[in-house]
């Protein structure tokens, strides 16, 4: 392995027999993200002063970002707007919950099964990316979670209807509530960092170029020799699995799981808003968006009570209109990279 300093870039080269890998590290670009990540790592210390409830809010923010990041990758990679990412959150949560209460399985035992279930469902639903495009795809994905919610009510003996499944084994049993909360926070941050790294690397890689091409015009991408169906199926399935893992975490974190919390429009709109207010499909922006939305939601709920149910979406609406480039747009000083795809529904 060779590490070379070229101008302000570090180049890591690995030559082993036929395997040749090169990774360019540009510290000037990841200085601010690194600082932000260190700040996130220090958050539990700050939250100790404000109370444990803030740690829970930050954990939820991390989890919301872990749903928004795969959604972002999926929107770019398939060239379609999925309005039902919460389906896989519910799938992961219910699979983990049902296995936990019926077969007394621990969190780490339910994880592989959640991945397999999400993989199978994601693979079968990924056909939608070939069958339907544009508005059709968005409409269908919008309906599926709502129909799944109805199924949870129809088979309430299995899914426990509105009350949901409770008594799910926790991910951590470390004694005190404080240590558990900190452990959950860092676990969610670890997943978030992993997802961010993955999404960012993919979008900057050759695959990212292919996804951007599919997003811009899949017919042209196909003419250029891109196997668009293979890429769309792959990205849909992988992002579905990633979203289901967030559901799995929710189930083992809260110890309960009810579809009525995650499947309606309100949860979906929160995730979609995180993607938009973060900076319209900007990977780093989604984290800022998730924290912003989660903190705003909690503050309004604490100070306004029931009125917050309509004040919160009203503020989101105003922000959506006032910040067309999202929070990332305030931070970013340069123009969009030309290659960066934008979200489009009507095609």
């Amino acid at each position: 392995m060779k590490i070379e300093l070229k101008r302000s870039r570090l180049e890591v080269r690995l030559d082993y027999k036929k395997l040749k890998l090169a990774w360019t590290i540009e510290p000037r670009y990841w200085r601010n993200p690194l600082l932000a990540w260190l700040a996130l790592c220090a958050l539990p210390l700050l939250s100790l002063m404000g109370g444990l409830q803030w740690l829970s809010i930050f954990t939820t923010a991390n989890l919301c970002a872990t749903i928004a990041l795969p959604l972002l990758l999926q929107i770019i990679g398939t060239g379609r707007v999925n309005l039902g990412p919460q389906l896989f959150v519910a799938l992961g949560g219910y699979t983990a919950g049902l296995l936990s209460i019926n077969y007394k399985m621990e969190a780490l035992q339910t994880l592989p099964i959640v991945i397999v279930v999400a993989l199978l469902v994601g693979l079968s639903l990924s056909l939608l990316t070939i069958l339907a495009r544009g508005i059709y795809f968005s409409l269908i994905t919008l309906i599926i979670p709502l129909v799944f919610m109805e199924i949870t009510f129809v088979f309430s003996d299995v899914f426990k209807g509105e009350t949901g499944i409770y008594g799910i084994t926790p991910l951590f049993r470390l004694g005190s509530h404080l240590i558990n909360s900190i452990a959950y926070y860092y676990a969610s941050l670890m997943i978030l960092t992993l997802y961010l790294f993955l999404v960012d690397k993919i979008l900057r890689s050759r695959w990212g170029m292919v996804y951007a091409a599919i997003n811009n015009d899949e017919d042209v991408a196909m003419m250029m020799g891109v196997d668009i169906n293979r890429h769309k199926i792959f990205v849909f399935t992988v992002t579905s699995v990633l979203t289901a893992i967030a559901g799995w975490f929710f189930a083992h974190y809260f110890g309960t799981f009810a579809g009525v919390t995650y499947l309606p429009f309100t949860f979906m709109i929160k995730i979609l808003f995180i993607v938009l207010i973060g900076g319209r499909a900007q990977a780093y922006g989604t984290i800022a968006g998730a924290y912003f939305v989660s903190i705003l939601d909690e503050l309004l709920r604490s100070y306004l009570g029931n009125i917050s149910h309509f004040v919160f979406p009203s503020i989101l609406l105003v922000l959506l209109v006032a910040l067309p480039e999202g929070l990332w747009g305030i931070y970013r000083k340069h123009k969009y990279r030309e290659i960066y795809p934008t979200i489009r529904i009507r095609r």
């Binding site: 069958l131 269908i140 309906i143 129909v147 429009f265 149910h309 979406p313 959506l320 067309p324 009507r346």
Partner: protein, 290 residues
Amino acid sequence: MWETLSAVIVYGLVLGSLWLLVSIGFSLICGVLRIFYLGYGITFTMAIYVTWMFLSDFKLRLDIAIALMIVVQLAFSFLIYRGLIQRYLASEEILVTALLLVQIIIEEAINYKYPAITGVSIPTMILTGLCSVGGASISIQLVISAIVAILFTAIITLVLLKSKLGLIVRALSQDQKTAMLMGADVHRLFALAMMISVIPPSICALLLAPLWSVEPYMGSSFFITALLISILGSVGNLKGTIIASYLIGLIHSSVSFLINPRLMNLAALVFTLAFLSFRSEGLTRSESLW
């Protein structure tokens, strides 16, 4: 056996007619504006609760309350068009999110003022009791609602096919730019289509209010039906919407009578997906309104 079959057919046709009233406004918006009006569900909720507000809080007569509700609905749809749709017609991701947010804001505001546990009673029952159609017993109010739905659809279809306004609207649905070049006032027609589209769901909500449960989040279930019908009927095509409404109505009644009423939406979705896998553009071509 015959009784069940006749009930399936009769309820299928009646439900199909009702779904026509539910979905025709959505199809009109999709067909003319070529946008994805995610806030459509709120029209049903507003029809009930705005009427109820005028009846209970302002102590007005039913006919005046309904007239004022229609005025409020028209003004609301006009404001939505001018404030959001016209502004973000090209930025669909913002438009979709903003429209959904509007729906959530209004639903939550209604739920705050009139919580779900509060009884809401709109006296729009035209005739009480049951009647027998083809051996199946059915509420007279449902039959009246179905007849109103058919009449209303016939009027809209006639206007679209026979009037000059309809000709311009159809031209607009086929190609906006060309229609503009030919002198069509696009924004005025878009606003008009938005305003017309709130009338069928308002009538539907009022006719069904005495029969079906009313709560602030009721719009979502109607919206799901409208979405399914629109997808099956080639988004924005009225001919497709009419056929799809009756197909979905028959699927709903068959599943309700033969399997489980709560599985009817799932069955309709499975049917729609299966159909799309064979014919991805839906029942008819989606390039035009008719």
